[in-house]
């Protein structure tokens, strides 16, 4: 069981660490010249970090692969992230129900 003091210290550390990540982008960029190459790096970084999160999740939960592919397909067709999320959920629920039977 976690003591109240330990939780408060942990909470303070989590809050500061997260705030630091939120603040540091604009602070850093105030000191970096925005060349086209830097912009390309940021753009590649932005897409790659999210793609890597998806891939990482799929390693841990391979059952998500088909729903993710469904979400990608729906996103390509509708260009709506909301429809893509719904599609992923419906496919996952359908697969889940299928396995249960």
């Amino acid at each position: 069981m976690l003591s109240d003091t330990s939780f408060l210290i942990a909470l303070a550390l989590m809050t500061v660490a997260t705030l630091l990540t939120r603040m540091s982008g604009p602070v850093l960029m105030a000191h970096v010249r925005l060349t086209p190459r830097v912009e390309r790096f940021l753009e590649g970084l932005a897409v790659s970090v999210v793609a890597a999160l998806v891939a990482s999740n799929l390693v841990g939960t391979p059952a998500n692969t088909v729903p993710v592919l469904g979400a990608v397909l729906v996103m390509l067709l509708t260009r709506s992230a909301i429809w893509a999320m719904l599609a992923g959920m419906v496919i996952a629920a359908a697969l889940h129900a299928g396995f249960a039977i």
């Binding site: 942990a10 989590m14 603040m23 970084l45 889940h96």
Partner: protein, 249 residues
């Protein structure tokens, strides 16, 4: 090359635009509700009180890292690992913050801190194209963030207080919703620039291959840096375009 800020209209942060941002992200925030409820349930399962779970969501406000941190809220707390996990899983904030720097850095210090405190993936994804298109009001960024925050904190409270009644929300497949949202964002990103498809694929490959060998979150950072480096290294097309534009002017 000229300083872009000189040509841009002055950046503002108006209340009307904040409210507009709250409206814009209302539908998206509905999808946060099951996720926040799941967090509330999981936090109480882990032994936190409802008040602690709610305080965590209100102050930290970052879904994935909060879930990951739950496993580390044990006695004794591995404080070092906890901080590393928070930094690693939130490192993408640095990236999206950097992508908004051109506008955010024109605000006053106070407005800057306020806006950045509510920065997350969804309000970034919603606002960045508007700014790129010439809109100079950061209100929708803050408003969208506030909407997401309200949904996140209130649903955490719901899960923490009524978790026993709701039961295990993971059975409904809500936990994976964020992954579908992320997958959709990758598609959106690749759409804006087809050459990013290669970066995304390489990043996914790196993340998968290093998943077993690196601590939680670090495989994602490594993958993102390699993807970004690849984009920077293959920027011939962009440079040519910029050059052509400069020549035309």
């Amino acid at each position: 090359m000229t300083a872009p800020s000189q040509a841009d209209p002055p950046v503002t942060l108006t209340l009307a635009a904040v409210l507009r941002g709250m409206q814009r992200l209302f539908p998206v925030s509905l999808f946060v509700l099951p996720f926040g409820t799941a967090f509330g349930v999981a936090a109480v399962d882990q032994g936190l009180s409802a008040a602690q779970a709610i305080a965590m969501s209100a102050l930290v406000f970052t879904a994935i890292a909060q879930f990951a941190a739950l496993d580390l809220l044990i006695d004794p707390v591995p404080f070092g690992s906890l901080v590393m996990v928070m930094l690693a899983l939130n490192a993408r904030h640095v990236i999206i913050g950097a992508a908004l720097a051109r506008w955010i850095n024109q605000l006053s210090w106070r407005a800057r801190v306020l806006t950045l405190a509510f920065l997350s993936d969804a309000n970034f994804a919603d606002t960045r194209p508007m700014l790129q298109g010439g809109d100079a009001d950061l209100g929708p960024l803050l408003g969208g963030g506030l909407m997401l925050w309200l949904a996140w904190v209130s649903s955490t409270a719901l899960g923490a207080l009524a978790g026993d009644l709701i039961g295990d929300t993971s059975a409904y497949g809500f936990g994976a919703v964020m992954v579908y949202f992320f997958a959709a964002q990758v598609v959106r990103g690749v759409r804006t620039s087809g050459s990013l498809l290669l970066c995304a694929c390489v990043a996914m490959g790196v993340a998968v291959m290093t998943h077993a060998n690196l601590p939680v979150g670090w495989n994602v950072i490594l993958a993102a840096l390699i993807g970004g480096g690849l984009a920077a290294a293959t920027d011939a097309g962009t440079q040519a375009k910029t050059q052509a534009k400069t020549n035309a002017e």
